[in-house]
Symmetry: C2
Subunit: 341 residues, 2 copies
DNA sequence: TTGTACGCGTTATCAA
DNA sequence: TTGATAACGCGTACAA
């Protein structure tokens, strides 16, 4: 091992003091280093292949250049789209993203907050629906409070939490608009693949949809609301279950796109043609799924923008406390929900 | 600001020395701390909400707990699947992943290697096809060499590089097998959406496919190989272009699934039914795309396993030098390529 | 403008 | 088993 070359080595090589070397290389507040010396230092650093130790810098400066991102599953296109926005925005700010995935295990968010606090991350971003779980929510809240008390910034993406800045997603409003549009297309007998019990995002979407239809005089039959996992397989099984109930539904709303695609597969496997025999709508407008056939009607969310917004919100400064910005979706009608004769 | 609480604070609170506090909390090599004191320290830490400073630990210990992952675009399901595997494996090892995305800008990999070297990351994982660009490859190689010389571990996922451990993907073998299977199904007039010029992965897949067909006596017409971007839109435009040439191709091979889906969309827009009028095959078997209709014939790659394999390879120790493991795909035939009468 | 010296929070070495 | 104390690599008052 050639051993790591330190700033002292560079200083010695350039025949200047450690302080001068430091100033020349990072251009500190006092940007006063004679060009000549500056050149000499930079040349020496280059010659020695000097690589500043970010950990030492962090310690000396008292702050890191890291921002933490916590998601459930990075393979889920919903989260990976958000992550893309986050990394892009972070990159532009000269920040680096550490990615933590809970893999849907409860309690991991809290644990990861502690990890990131140890890392002294500048900010923590948490994306992804939480469950209606008083204990879990409380301990997460406390962990975040501790982190914020120690000077950390936080922004949530999706579900809000008291006293924490949030880029909130208009789940309810999107579901309402979707219900109105589908009703307007002539559908009357609705089914809902509602996601798991207690999942807040799923519940908001389902409730907005169901309530609106009730108001419009086309209430969803109780038996036509089926709980299922928030995943492709959940959608598949939920749809199979729903179809087996023989309720003659003409449109099925899956509370996210991935579930909707699973539902479409289940419909095909049951020899029902999506669009003609049964319409299907989703939520999110996942880019990768825009080419499914028939095209999936859904509520478009600007997922890639959420990341940038969240970073902005978090880094807005401790002055701005607990801002909540709501981002609303937009209904996109495609071939999976043709106008009903 | 309540100010950060340090280990010294904990030591004082517990009325022990700094050293003892350190040992009690992290259980150092000399695991010798009287249980009684140990308890006292842990209690004090809890009481004060002590959070160890990972940067300080890194500096003192001389190593971090970070592993770096460089990809082109985390929103691309190919990369997000790999990333999921990496984070899962890292998590199990108590490591944390910092994610860097090049956004397809050349030269960024090299820059990110330097960033991660500054971070003193334990290991660097680079996924994603490189271009046949001597300069870029050389500077990346050098950056990696420097990092490795300073004690860092590296593993590539996909394209190999001299003197670097790699989880290589069997692009050629997969393409060969695919060509054989498609020929076996009765197809004879092939088209290829070949990806961009100079893209090594794309080239390997194309060459394996084209060469095999030539050997089988069903050579691909030169005009039926169209270059295009390695993306959904690339596949769409390439397919549109190809169909406009009126070559009566009966099967189109897109060098990845995302492109294949774009190609399917283009076929539909041109009123060609995928499967009946023109068959389509892809590569990767992206999970999110398994439900496209008709089902896409492709070469399945165990993307989520690659991450774990790469970490394992990288951390295998400096002893094992530049190991290359090849992971092969498996042809999965679906409805997009029905047997040809 | 440059250099000296101290502090950042931990770990590890060496005595006690 | 425990406690001083010297690193770790860097930034930055403060002094020159």
């Amino acid at each position: 091992m050639p051993g790591p070359v330190t700033l002292s080595d560079v200083a010695r090589e350039a025949e200047v003091s450690l302080a001068t070397a430091s100033r020349a290389i990072n251009g500190s507040a006092n940007r006063t280093v004679r060009p000549e010396l500056r050149e000499r230092v930079l040349a020496a650093a280059e010659r020695l292949h000097y690589s500043p130790d970010a950990n030492a810098q962090a310690m000396a400066r008292g702050r890191t250049t890291t921002i933490g991102l916590i998601v459930h599953d990075i393979a889920d296109p919903y989260f990976s789209s958000i992550a893309a926005g986050v990394t892009a925005a972070a990159d532009q700010l000269g920040l680096v993203v550490t990615l933590l995935t809970t893999q849907h295990q409860r309690g991991r968010e809290q644990q990861f907050v502690e990890v990131l606090q140890s890392q002294r991350a500048r900010a923590i971003l948490i994306a992804g629906g939480r469950y209606d779980d008083a204990d879990g929510t409380e301990s997460l809240s406390q962990a975040l409070a501790g982190y914020m008390a120690s000077g950390g910034a936080v922004a949530l993406i999706g579900q809000p939490l008291p006293d924490v800045s949030t880029v909130a997603i208009g789940n309810t409003s999107g579901a309402i608009e979707l219900a109105q549009r589908m009703h307007g297309l002539g559908y009357r007998r609705f089914g809902v693949l509602a996601g798991p019990e207690g999942h807040i995002t799923a519940r908001d979407r389902r409730d907005g949809f169901v309530q609106t239809l009730a108001d419009l005089g086309a209430p969803v039959a109780p038996g036509a609301i089926v709980e299922c996992a928030f995943t492709r397989d959940g959608g598949y099984e939920g749809m199979r279950d729903l179809l087996s109930r023989d309720l003659a539904v003409d449109l099925v709303f899956a509370v996210n796109d991935v579930m909707a695609v699973g539902a479409m597969a289940a419909a095909r496997d049951a020899d029902r043609e999506v669009g003609a025999d049964v319409a299907v709508a989703g939520f999110d407008d996942i880019v990768t799924l825009r080419d499914v056939n028939p095209g999936l009607t859904t509520v478009r969310l600007p997922l890639d923008e959420l990341g940038a917004k969240a970073i902005e919100l978090a880094l807005a400064g401790p002055a701005a406390e607990a801002t909540v910005v709501e981002v609303d979706g937009e209904v996109v009608v495609r071939a999976s929900t043709p106008p009903r004769a």
